[in-house]
């Protein structure tokens, strides 16, 4: 039993490594950039999975943690000369703190109301950033190219950031696995299935939900800093993009919510598909529509996502696919 469970973890980690090792093996910068986005999406989707997949709360504005982390991190690097790593950590912790402060209040809302509240928060934070001068207001912040020199030049810096996001993707998978196979995670899943019943059985739901929210906010904050450091520039419209939030939901849904492997498969599948559609001469003008039609088919016919579908069809896999 125990062994089988950890096979699930190894399968998931292996999947991430298989995706992430390519650019390191052939030192291809182009592949690295493509993979960077997949890794980032894995981190965001896996983090969202803690809230969506395990706890059953649909956060539509989860990107607020990515954007806020990016802003705080870039501000510390730009204005306070912090090194990237501590700035990224600070970005993550700030996002976690925001989740902690908001959690108790908005996690009382259920279903669609919670989803709407998260949209409201994302929009409020975006509008606030637009007015907040230390973060550059509408202009945002642009890093001086010199900053990259402390990391061995820009080329090297981008490699470093890639290693970091790769490591964090692995961490996100381990975190998902640990949550899923912990008492805390059991409580979360009980909440997902029936919050009232969970409460009656003794799950301290407000605390459990808040911590799930916090856990799901920290890593997005860290990769937010990494991304905008790499990007060299941040402004409100890019940092708090609601569409990106919804893409993450689609990815978790596509791969299978509540599973560890799901966000990984979803991220790889979704990004692969998007890259294909964007560059395909046949579809590129209507790629958005094609993606929408596919999403609709998935929602209507395979709501459990890839992992859920596999588990149902091939029961042997049930134990291996965490």
């Amino acid at each position: 039993m125990k062994q089988l469970k950890s096979i699930g973890l190894w399968v998931s980690l292996l999947a991430v490594v298989a995706l992430g090792i390519g650019p390191i093996a052939n030192r291809s910068a182009s592949l690295r950039e493509t993979t960077y986005i997949i890794m980032q999406v894995i981190v965001l989707a896996a983090s969202l999975n803690i809230l969506l997949g395990f706890t059953g709360y649909v956060s539509f504005g989860h990107i607020v943690f990515f954007g806020l982390g990016g802003y705080v991190g870039l501000y510390l690097i730009n204005a306070q000369n912090w090194p990237l790593w501590s700035a990224a950590l600070a970005g993550g912790l700030t996002s976690g703190l925001l989740a902690f402060l908001l959690g108790k209040a908005i996690l009382r809302l259920r279903g669609a109301y919670f989803a709407l509240a998260t949209i409201g928060i994302n929009e409020a934070v975006r509008a606030f950033t637009n007015n907040f001068d230390p973060f550059g207001g509408p202009i945002g912040m642009t890093l001086n190219f010199r900053v990259y020199n402390s990391y061995g030049g820009a080329a090297n810096a981008l490699w470093l950031v890639y290693y970091a996001v790769f490591a964090i993707a692995l961490l996100a998978v381990v975190l998902n696995f640990m949550v899923k196979n912990s008492k805390f995670g059991l409580g979360l899943m009980a909440i997902r299935e029936d919050e009232g019943a969970a409460e009656v059985m003794g799950v301290i739901t407000p605390n459990a939900k808040t911590w799930a929210f916090v856990l799901s906010a920290i890593l997005p904050g860290i990769v937010g800093t990494l991304f905008f450091f790499k990007n060299g520039h941040i402004e409100p419209g890019d940092a708090f993009r609601l569409d990106y939030s919804i893409e993450m939901l689609v990815i978790v849904m596509l791969g299978g919510q509540g599973s560890v492997l799901g966000p990984i498969l979803g991220a790889a599948g979704y990004e692969g598909l998007r890259n294909f559609l964007l560059t395909s001469p046949l579809f590129k003008n209507i790629q958005l529509s094609v993606a929408g039609a596919l999403l609709l088919v998935i929602v209507l016919f395979i709501p459990a996502g890839a992992v859920g579908w596999l588990r149902r069809r091939v029961p042997i896999l049930r134990k291996v696919l965490a």
Partner: protein, 445 residues
């Protein structure tokens, strides 16, 4: 005929909500493929092909916004660049010092109007597609993200459609700006106002809170204050704003002589329309981006008198003579040639985005010719030295460490919508005085 096709198409679209899930059919898109019947006579100068030259194809990499909010401007920029490329290739390419003849090919992807994929795509362009030179995406935000990649892979990038000054103050050495920087967008309008009516001193500034517009108005504010103007209102609005009533009421209460600001086309034209409807009574209105667009005239009377800065207009007539007068080298086609070939190729009038795209190519071509090689260092050196006049205007780059690559030669022109003798709205150039096609209509009737 075309109209009814359009209606049919859109009814099909409405109908296709119905069959949406069954997989949408490929819809014919407006984006025309270039089949430029470019008349060879109007080709830019290029070395005449020798007998048996070695040849090389140079890849120019860039992304454009085929989808998303920047799609219109970005597509025009793409068209301009494409026209340049077709013409230079048709004319036989560029001859290097070692006799190799270089022709160009474009490698491009859709950046969806957002930064997420810009770096991914530019890295792909720089490494996998082995692009020799890069052109920026449209808009300052996207260009800033692309600049990191260009510099890092030691590729020269000509930016166009990216006016923000800040990108060129961040230590890049290989990024060169074709546009007049944002900080100069509205300062000329102020000079124009000062010359026309020295007694007008109260200015209200209302601007879209996006990066570009905010940079423009911040520079305007500094400049206006230094010239003794009284800024009676200085406020931002969300770029998605459609109802400006509240803001206009405030402007009205501040009773300014002039209203300046705006942002992009959509908000700017809406703002202009509502300014008119509210009978605001300002004598002078200057807005960003929207007024130079031909569609701005759809506003009817609301467009009358509105002034806007433009990087280039078809009426702008720089010639070999003007180059001689200014002591500059003349380079490339004339404005009239550019306009007519562009129209022939894309069945639309060129705007400054188109001209900017073309100019970016032209700048690169000239630099390669001057350098006589494709080597980054040599071409960059040629760009640093460049000081030319083209149909698009004067091109010269700042070479100081603090602002390297910033455009310092090119000047904005200011257009105003006026009525011709038969009462039709026409766009006239009103500033700078040397290039004006009509005097400023002042105050707005």
């Amino acid at each position: 005929m075309k109209r009814s096709l359009f209606v049919l198409l859109s009814l099909l679209i409405l109908g296709s909500m119905a069959i949406a899930a069954c997989g949408p059919a490929t819809t014919p898109t407006a984006a025309p493929q270039t089949q430029a019947p470019a008349p060879a006579t109007q080709a830019p100068p290029a070395s005449t092909a020798p007998a048996q030259p070695a040849t090389k194809t140079v890849t120019i990499g860039f992304t454009s916004s085929q989808t998303g909010s920047l799609n219109v401007e970005s597509t025009r920029q793409y068209h301009g660049l494409q026209l340049w490329m077709d013409q230079v290739n048709k004319a036989g390419g560029v001859k290097l010092a070692d006799g190799t003849v270089v022709t160009f090919k474009a490698q491009t992807y859709d950046d969806e109007s957002n930064t997420d994929r810009v770096q991914q795509l530019y890295t792909k362009l720089a490494t996998e597609d082995n692009a020799d030179f890069l052109i920026s995406p449209y808009s300052s935000g996207l260009a800033a993200a692309a600049a990191v990649i260009a510099q890092q892979y030691n590729k020269i990038m000509i930016t166009t459609g990216a006016a923000d000054d800040s990108t060129y103050q961040k230590g890049y050495t290989l990024v060169y700006q074709a546009y007049t920087p944002a900080s100069h967008y509205l300062t000329g309008a102020l000079d124009l106002l000062a010359k026309t009516d020295p007694s007008a001193k109260k200015i209200a500034v209302a601007y879209s809170t996006d990066s570009f517009s905010t940079s423009v108005v911040n520079a305007l504010k500094t400049y206006a204050t230094s010239k003794g103007y009284n800024i009676v209102l200085f406020e931002g609005y969300d770029p998605a704003t459609t109802d400006f009533s509240a803001l206009i009421n405030k402007i009205q209460a501040a009773a300014p002589d002039a209203v300046m600001g705006g942002g992009h086309f959509q908000d700017g034209s809406t703002f202009a329309k509502q300014l008119f409807e509210k009978k605001i009574g300002a004598k002078f209105v200057a807005l960003l981006v929207a007024p130079p667009e031909d569609q701005f005239s759809q506003l009817g009377d609301a467009a009358l008198g509105v002034v806007g800065p433009s990087q280039w207009e078809p009426q702008v007539s720089f010639t070999q003579d003007s180059a001689q007068k200014a002591g500059l080298t003349w380079y490339g086609p004339t404005g009239a040639d550019f306009t007519s070939t562009y129209k022939a190729a894309f069945n639309e009038d060129p705007t400054y985005h188109s001209a900017g795209g073309y100019a970016a190519g032209l700048i690169l071509q000239k630099a390669i010719e001057d350098a006589g090689s494709l080597d980054t260092t040599a071409v960059a050196a040629a760009l640093d030295k460049m000081d030319i006049l083209t149909f698009y205007g004067h091109i010269k780059f700042d070479t100081s460490a603090a602002n390297h690559g910033l455009q310092i030669g090119h000047e904005m022109v200011y257009v105003q919508w006026q009525k011709d003798s038969s009462g039709n709205l026409v766009k006239q150039i009103v500033w700078p005085a040397e290039g004006a096609t009509a005097p400023l209509l002042y105050p707005i009737p």
